[in-house]
């Protein structure tokens, strides 16, 4: 038995930054998997999905939270699924659910998951993301794959309490997450 042990390290050191009107938190301990529909298996996937989640797969550009899992439509033939817990557990569940209709790849460590909340959360995105993240164009349940400061991101608008605030889930690649963090903290309300 080896005497050595490995300790997990959060990509951004469990970042938690609060300012008036905004808060940014690195969410860790959340498994994330990419589920890609196999060629010609869209119907089988939809059936398997409905069976598992009691709802149809989310349409492109949207996300749904059901049974404590958030399913993000990240492409026409792909969803990302996230839930609290170890990646192995989620992978096992998904590989079982979609064994005949989709391929599943663990992406838990490939992405940094950031929760951007607050009444001025939208101000950050106005500076960094070219898509329209306003209430009208990007209501709760919306999702988009885009770029911020040349870095790929997935943005999901989620429910937030208190209701007057907003909550955006930002997924970005682990290797460039510090660039994204730097960009966010260089934007209002974190920096005027």
């Amino acid at each position: 038995m080896t005497e050595y042990q490995l300790r997990e390290t959060a990509a951004l050191g469990n970042t938690l930054i609060e300012t008036e009107g905004g808060m940014l938190m690195e969410e860790t301990g959340i498994a994330l998997a990419a589920v890609t529909i196999r060629t010609g298996k869209a119907r089988a996937f939809a059936n398997a999905f409905s069976k598992r989640y009691d709802c149809p797969p989310p349409d492109p550009r949207s996300a749904v939270t059901v049974r404590r899992q958030t399913i993000i439509a990240s492409a026409l033939d792909q969803v990302f699924i996230r839930r609290k817990g170890e990646p192995a557990g989620l992978m096992a569940q998904l590989e079982k659910d979609f064994s005949q209709s989709a391929t599943v790849t663990d992406q838990s460590d490939g992405w940094v998951q950031l929760a951007l909340t607050g009444i001025r959360a939208g101000d950050v995105l106005e500076r960094l993301a070219m898509i329209d993240c306003s209430d009208q164009a990007f209501p709760v349940g919306s999702a988009a794959r885009t770029v911020m400061e040349h870095c790929g991101v997935i943005i999901v608008r989620e429910k937030h309490k208190p209701v007057e605030g907003k909550r955006y889930l930002l997924l970005t690649q682990r290797s460039s997450a510090e660039t994204v963090l730097h960009a966010i903290l260089g934007s209002p309300p974190f920096r005027q």
Partner: protein, 987 residues
């Protein structure tokens, strides 16, 4: 406090006096002033020198069109040249100075140029200073540039911060005059998302400059009320101090918002931490251009003296800024608007010495006490630094200290032309109006569309707002047309006064006179584009906003063409100057591009690693130890330690692509040139990927983790390109294949563990049951294992260094810890971290190709891998790879190279020549692609491509490096300098 020229009223805040300086003289103004209005209030008209002749110049206008009053604002690094004083919002402590003079503004030594003006006509530099030719670049051009110019940059880094952003709206309203406000109100009440952008610091446009009433209240008050309503709407965004400078495709507009330019933003300034300016990209579904119009001058003799201004601007200074342009003003006009200026000046108590109209029989009410002269014109003026008198056609001379000139108004059509729209001439207003290909989705209203009456502007706003609401799903609202005063617009265009014998300026900024236009015509430069280039009419910071139309009209007159026939030059973005800093935004210094770091970056930093950019990645290049003073010491040590015991290197940056699906094997087999169909599960294979044209695109190893699961690695810098290529193959070439791809580069941290003790090191951290023996886990084996008590990992027995080596991958969150554990566990072996330099040395020693060799110009045959091209299958690039030129036996081949004299150092980029061949391209035998110093061989070594290289083994050629000036004899060898049999790999 009040200076001599300050009137009562206006929109300035007299409770907030502001101190500022101009050329070192302390002056004062009020909040709400521009620098120009404050200077005029202090009696300062003379604020600059002209571009070419260095003639005294004064403030001409009150807006963005200003050609003369360009000043430098700020000091030190904050000094900002070429700022139009007419739009520079005054702040307390502003330091402004004039520019383009040698000596003081008053005594500019370069004003001697004016005496030589006959020599400096249009295009003089095309005809003079021709001899001797060598003097042009060294003497003449620098001299001319020094003498003719605008402001100078500080020469220091710009300390200001700039930002960029993206805004979206249903309707973008450009301009907040009566038309823009009405459009915004209509669309806002209908529930549309509206952005109202105004370049001025207060909204209202010309309503702030006029005395007319709307709905029974002064226009400025009506505008303020409308703005208050708009500000209260959640669906409306007000953007003052914002210039829409460009109309781009798909409803995208460029906007520059000035955030702190109106604040004293020095080191301890009022701007705080805010960016100076923000460059917005505005995405609009529809746009309304309500940019108004710009007044133009009339060209008469010596019409450029300080104190001669545009009449509408004189009116604006009086009404908005409560400033009299002079004590005795003469109004000179060819249209009704000049009369309005005379009325307003009189009503504010300013003496109007005469109202001169070029037209005859004009039946308009004359201002009380003003002498009206019809059917006449100004032919000349006098006064050095300020106009003193004018001369009429009759020869009569009239004293004055200011002349208000109106040659009519030109609709501000610039943004309508950004999609190559060509405006058309409207004789009824003597101006060009929008026509042709205006940006899709744009409505043009108000004066910008040639509708000069206030009622037309307001109605245009209602119509455009209603139309947008209807088309974009807004509510239906009934808008009441406000009551307003309208004045008839009448003009009889007069562009210049032919009876003037003196020089008459058309373009003040570029010192272009009517004579220059005649000269241009005479010499055949008659097209407007030629006219512009030959005379410089319409160039520089103002882009001819006041000069273009008069200049074109003079050309039309000379050439006997209509204005429509002459046309205009193309108006392009930006509408007004945008600082380069604003275009750069945040993208300066380290923020120029994203940085990617591997999971062990902090650990490497702690060890003092020196980093190198590889694509966007930062990779440890070497790890200096105490006492090492040169990078070679560190790299040599790392190489020797790895080859003698064990070293570790972070290879997380290599691209990793997860390939899954029932057809994954077939897919990999098609994209690689060598066979993969029969690769067993648990095995890795080196793969060569070709482009369509048969040249090598990339290489890497691909592991078969399961029957339908492959992990492909790519070179670090090529990861994105390879992934894109694979997606193209999957989606476009072979959509029938059941295969899914996803990038897994960031998912895992991967370390190379290399050297004779690598196995022993790994055995210390793998979990029980993981057998790393040669038999159980031979060269090119791979598999899923667990380490350190259950952490899932993948192990690959592959080697880039040529040693017994492994690559160990764990989920990225364990990457930092794994680096530390490998160092800890390897302590007994003297484990050494090595960086990309040592990696490079070892791969050259082993003869492994990398980006230097796979540079897009080499084929498999060139690389000595021709036999890898499978004859038993189809693959990308198969046909083209077998072109005769790529496969010819005497073509270039990858070989090893050593200096004959071991003391010599090879250099990459050197070209090979025969010993007795002349150093010419026609004798080129190839090039050196990679070099390194091998601490194992104690020699400089290299890889390179040599024609007929295999036949030249053990012979010598010259390696000639013209860049570094070296010419040395080198021996051609096998590229495998170390362990050519590969025994170490299989140990």
């Amino acid at each position: 406090m009040d200076a001599d020229f300050r009137l009562k009223g206006g929109l300035i805040n007299r409770r907030k006096p502001l101190d500022f300086s101009f050329n070192g003289a302390g002056l004062s103004g009020y909040a709400g002033d521009t620098l120009a209005s404050a200077l005029l209030a202090n009696g300062r008209h003379f604020v600059g020198r002209s571009f070419k002749y260095h003639r005294p110049r004064g403030i001409l206008s009150a807006g963005v069109e200003e050609p003369n009053a360009l000043v430098t604002i700020g000091t030190g690094a904050m000094a900002d040249p070429n700022i139009r004083a007419t739009v520079a919002e005054l702040y307390d402590g502003m330091v402004a100075r004039s520019q383009n003079h040698l000596g003081s503004l008053e005594w500019d030594l370069l004003s001697v140029n004016d005496a030589f003006s006959p020599l400096f006509g249009a295009g003089f530099y095309y005809k003079t200073f021709m001899w001797p030719a060598a003097f042009w670049e060294k003497l003449y051009e620098p001299m001319i540039r020094r003498a003719a110019g605008l402001g100078a940059l500080s020469g220091q880094d710009d300390p200001s911060r700039y930002d960029k952003g993206y805004r979206h709206c249903d309707l973008l309203v450009i301009g907040s005059g009566p038309a823009g406000l009405m459009a915004a109100l209509t669309a806002g009440r209908a529930g549309l998302r509206v952005i109202l952008a105004e370049q001025d610091f207060i909204m209202g446009g010309r309503l702030n400059a006029e005395r007319e009433r709307i709905d029974g209240m002064p226009g400025a008050e009506w505008a303020a009320k409308a703005c208050a309503e708009l500000t209260a709407m959640d669906n409306v965004m007000m953007m003052p101090r914002t210039t829409i400078y460009g109309a781009y495709d798909h409803g995208v507009y460029g906007a520059l918002e000035r955030i702190t330019d109106h604040l004293n933003d020095g080191e301890d300034g009022d701007g705080g931490d805010q960016p100076r300016q923000i460059l917005w990209r505005i995405y609009s579904r529809r746009a309304v251009l309500a940019a108004g119009s710009i007044e133009r001058p009339i060209a008469f003799g010596h019409n450029d003296r300080p104190g001669i201004m545009l009449a509408g601007s004189v009116r604006e200074y009086a009404n908005r800024y409560a400033v009299a342009a002079g004590r005795r003003v003469i109004v000179f006009t060819n249209n009704n608007d000049g009369w309005r200026t005379a009325h307003d000046l009189r009503s504010r108590g300013v003496e109007v010495a005469a109202l001169i109209d070029t037209r005859s029989d004009i039946d308009l009410p004359a201002p009380a006490g003003v002498r009206v002269i019809q059917g006449s014109a100004i032919t000349d003026t006098k006064g050095r630094t300020r106009v003193r008198s004018i001369t009429l056609m009759s020869g009569e001379e009239l004293a004055c200290d200011s002349v208000a000139v109106s040659g009519g108004w030109s609709p501000t059509v610039h943004l309508t032309c950004h999609h190559r729209g060509r405006p058309k001439w409207d004789a009824s207003i003597a101006g060009f109006i929008p026509a042709g290909e205006i940006p899709p989705g744009m409505d043009v209203i108000g004066a910008a569309a040639g509708k000069m009456a206030t009622s037309e502007a307001l109605q245009g706003g209602i119509t455009a707002g209603t139309s947008a609401a209807r088309d974009l799903g807004g509510k239906t609202v009934k808008m009441a047309m406000p009551d307003c005063e309208d004045r008839a617009f009448g003009i009889d265009p007069v562009w210049h006064i032919p009876s003037s014998r003196a020089r008459a300026w058309v373009d003040f900024q570029n010192d272009v006179t009517t004579k220059d236009i005649r000269q241009s015509h005479l010499e055949g430069f008659r097209s407007v584009e030629h006219l512009k280039r030959y005379t410089t009419l319409g160039m520089a910071t103002d882009q001819g906003k006041t000069a273009n139309i008069p200049g074109l009209a003079v050309m039309a007159e000379i050439s006997g063409k209509s204005m429509d026939e002459v046309g205009t030059t193309i108006f392009r973005p930006p509408y007004t100057p945008v600082p380069i800093g604003a275009f750069a935004g945040r993208g300066r210094g380290p923020d120029f591009m994203p940085t990617r770091i591997p999971p062990s970056h902090r650990w490497a930093e702690e060890r003092g690693a020196v980093f190198v950019e590889t694509g966007l990645w930062l990779r440890a290049q070497w790890y200096p130890q105490p006492g090492e003073t040169h990078w070679r010491e560190s790299v040599d040590r790392e190489v020797i330690a790895t080859r003698s015991s064990v070293g570790i290197c972070d290879v997380s940056t290599l691209g990793k692509i997860d390939i899954k699906g029932a057809d994954a094997g077939e897919f990999v087999n098609r994209v690689y040139a060598n066979g993969f169909a029969k690769l067993p599960v648990g095995k890795v294979r080196y793969g060569l990927m070709l482009r369509d044209d048969g040249f090598v695109m990339d290489d890497g190893t691909t592991a078969r983790m399961a029957e339908n699961h492959f992990i492909m690695t790519t070179t670090t810098a090529n990861a994105g390109g390879v992934y894109r290529h694979l997606e193209y193959c999957r989606q476009c070439l072979w959509p029938e294949l059941d295969v899914a791809l996803i990038s897994a580069t960031d998912q895992s941290a991967q370390f190379a563990v290399a050297g004779p003790n690598s196995r022993r090191l790994l055995e210390k951290i793998v979990d029980d049951g993981v057998d790393l023996s040669n038999a159980a886990f031979p060269f090119m084996a791979c598999g899923a294992i667990t380490i350190c008590g259950g952490v899932e990992a993948r192990l690959f027995r592959i080697s880039f260094s040529g040693e017994l080596a492994y690559e160990l991958a764990v989920p990225a969150r364990f990457g930092d810890a794994l680096a530390r554990v490998l160092m800890q566990a390897g302590e007994e072996f003297g484990v050494t971290p090595y960086g990309t330099e040592a990696l490079n040395v070892m791969r050259i020693e082993k003869g492994h190709a990398t980006a230097n060799e796979l540079n897009g110009q080499t084929s498999a045959h060139h690389l000595g891998m021709g036999r890898m091209l499978s004859p038993n299958k189809d693959f990308i690039g198969r046909i083209m790879a077998h072109r005769p030129e790529l496969t010819r036996g005497d073509g270039i081949r990858l070989v090893g190279l050593k200096p004959v004299d071991p003391a010599k150092m090879l250099s990459a980029g050197a070209h090979f020549l025969e010993a007795d061949a002349p150093s010419r391209a026609s004798h080129d035998l190839g090039w050196m692609s990679s070099v390194a110093y091998s601490p194992i061989l104690n020699s400089s070594i290299g890889l390179g491509f040599v024609k007929n290289g295999y036949e030249r083994m053990n012979s010598t050629v010259r390696a000639v490096d013209f860049m570094r000036g070296t010419d040395i004899e080198v021996e051609i060898t096998s590229p495998h300098f170390i362990d050519p049999e590969g025994r170490r790999l299989h140990d």
